[in-house]
């Protein structure tokens, strides 16, 4: 099935709706923004306000520096910067020059930064001074990338001409829903479709005040926050440290925010404690995605006069695939599909095709699309009679935590199975005695390796616990059980997975 943009017409006034137009490239969109919003504030960061015109001047300096290196259209340029104005001007400079921005998450370690420069053949890397040390290894171990500081001298350089929708624009890392993070290459057309999709389904679209708490290296941060904010002539406030977000909100008075459900929930919890809306009285719209939105959140925010719109999206789809403008009536739905894409359900799994879908993964053997050009999301879905989409599960074994973090049980099991005292393990989601979701682990000991061990259960548990503690906090299992008998297995001898939740 597919939807036209008219499905969203009832949720926005006619004049605003007609202003939502499509462009083929970031350069085309940016030129229109400059013509319309030049003197308006575009970005607020670290106590300074930057207008659209100022942002263009600084992006031009980035274009000049990169063009001076002799780069060609389509060459890849890494960007290693925390959420900051420098990130914004660098990203915009790279892509409006016709180069491809490879957005490197700032938490990467220096070995991974080096690996990325090689794997993705980065011609240059723009590095924020605060992350300079992360390039030390690459600089001394034969990386061929040119490293430049994001602090650049002023210079002028026009935008690239003739960029087309199919030209590559930016590479973002996926959240790893298939077990491993991959680089998804998005075209200018993809990014623009994602940007425009961010305008559908709510009343106040243009001239808003956005507050950014998501990473700009994440599709929701880059496309749904930054790009849609620029597109709509809005002012984007960059929260430097999330712990200060409520002080920032009191000062900046945001009208719209994009966040994961767990954060929206925390804002409510604190609001109840302090007896006020922590996000401020100006807040009108919250876009919540990247994890399942508990329906009660929609109602709680409605009481505060805030419309919370659940959405569903992927890095591969350049932003949200669907958004729910009827969240009060259908709080469990992820909404109506956005225009210019086709959706098909095969054996319950959602398949996607369309203008918003990525060019493909970079440097991966795994095919991005099937032979008919469909992307297999791995999400199990259903549509209701009015065309609203519901996510009902995953085909791939992935556990999505309320914080939006993805757990791959297979990846964790591989690590547990490296222990010689363990024959096989299974990581699964379960409920504890209080009915809360937890990650649990069951393990089958390898008895041949445990001869002479007095208390097998205690020994194996302790060994598993050591591995468990090597995982990031959010990934750790909170219960370990040692089995006496083998797991129930499928005919191909794979462990039959538990689905207790």
């Amino acid at each position: 099935m597919s939807m036209t943009r008219d499905a969203f017409r009832p949720y926005t006034d006619a004049e605003t709706f007609d202003r939502i137009v499509e462009y083929d490239s970031v350069t085309e969109m940016w030129a229109k923004c400059l013509a319309e919003f030049a003197d308006r504030p575009a970005i607020e960061d670290d106590g300074k306000t930057y207008t659209f015109a100022r942002l263009e001047q600084d992006a031009a300096s980035v274009r000049a520096a990169l063009s001076g290196l002799g780069l060609q259209k389509g060459d890849r340029v890494g960007l290693l910067a925390p959420n900051s104005y420098d990130f914004v001007k660098s990203y915009l400079g790279i892509v409006t020059a016709g180069f491809v921005c490879v957005a490197l998450p700032p938490h990467l370690d220096e070995m991974t930064v080096f690996g990325c420069t090689m794997k993705y053949a980065l011609k240059a890397v723009l590095v924020h001074p605060a992350l300079e040390e992360k390039t030390a290894f690459a600089k001394t171990h034969g990386s061929r990338s040119v490293f430049l500081s994001t602090t650049l001298p002023e210079a002028s350089c026009p935008m690239a001409e003739g960029l087309k929708a199919e030209d590559p624009c930016v590479m973002l890392f996926t959240g790893g829903t298939t077990g491993k993070s991959k680089g998804a290459l998005l075209s200018h057309g993809n990014v623009l479709q994602g940007t425009v999709n961010g305008c559908y389904g709510y009343k106040e679209v243009f001239g808003q005040r956005y507050m950014l708490v998501l990473p700009l290296t994440h599709v929701f941060g880059l496309v749904r926050n930054l790009m849609t904010s620029l597109y709509t002539g809005s002012d984007l406030f960059i929260v430097r440290n999330n712990k200060d977000m409520f002080r920032d909100a009191a000062m900046f008075r945001p009208t719209i925010m994009v966040m994961v459900p767990a954060l929206a929930e925390m804002c409510l919890q604190l609001g109840k404690k302090f007896g006020r809306n922590m996000l401020g009285e100006s807040m009108k719209t919250i876009i919540a995605g990247a994890a399942v939105v508990p329906p009660y959140l929609v109602n709680e925010y409605d009481k505060l006069g805030v419309l919370l719109l659940p959405g569903y999206g992927l890095t591969e789809s350049a932003n949200l695939v669907s958004g729910n403008p009827e969240s009060l009536k259908k709080p469990e739905s992820v909404g109506l599909p956005f225009p210019n894409q086709e959706l098909k359900v095969v054996n319950g799994e959602l398949l996607l095709r369309g203008k918003n879908m990525m060019i493909g993964y970079v440097g991966e053997e795994e095919a991005s699309y099937d032979e008919d050009g469909w992307f297999h999301t791995g999400d199990l879905v259903r549509f209701d009679e009015e065309g609203f989409l519901y996510i009902t599960g995953r085909t791939k074994e992935i556990i999505v935590l309320p914080t939006g973090e993805n757990i791959s049980p297979a990846e964790m099991e591989t690590r547990f199975n490296e222990l010689v005292c363990v024959q096989d393990t299974q990581v699964f989601e379960d409920l504890n005695e209080r009915g809360e979701h937890i990650l649990a682990l069951e393990a089958l000991p390898r008895m041949t390796e445990l001869q002479g061990v007095e208390d097998v259960r205690a020994y194996v548990t302790a060994e598993l616990q050591k591995v468990n503690e090597s995982f990031p906090l959010f990934m750790r299992v909170s219960r370990i059980e040692i089995r006496d008998q083998d797991f129930e297995r499928t005919p191909s001898m794979k462990i039959k997975r538990y689905h207790r939740v």
Binding site: K243, F246, L473, S478
Partner: protein, 84 residues
């Protein structure tokens, strides 16, 4: 405020952040490791930091939470800030 009073308030905040940790929090000591021994998510940690700042009227400036490894380190930091 005594160290014990700070600790009690801290325990209250940590339980609020994620009720599932109640048992671990109640049995924690000053030597309990913040990152290793509790099952806090990134959003839980954010809640704890915000609540410490609000409840004690202090600010974590230029100091990542990562520098505070153990419960006792946090208590010491709060105590020092309260004395300022």
């Amino acid at each position: 405020m005594t160290r014990q009073e700070i600790f009690d308030k801290l325990k209250e905040i940590m339980v609020e952040a994620d009720d599932r940790n109640r048992e671990i929090v109640e049995n924690s000591t000053e030597d309990t490791d913040l990152m290793k021994d509790f099952g806090f998510s990134s959003v839980n940690m954010l809640y704890i930091v915000i609540m410490i700042e609000e409840s004690f009227g202090i600010r974590f400036e230029d100091l990542g939470v990562r520098d505070l490894r153990k419960v006792g380190d946090v208590i010491s930091y709060i105590a020092e800030e309260l004395e300022k």
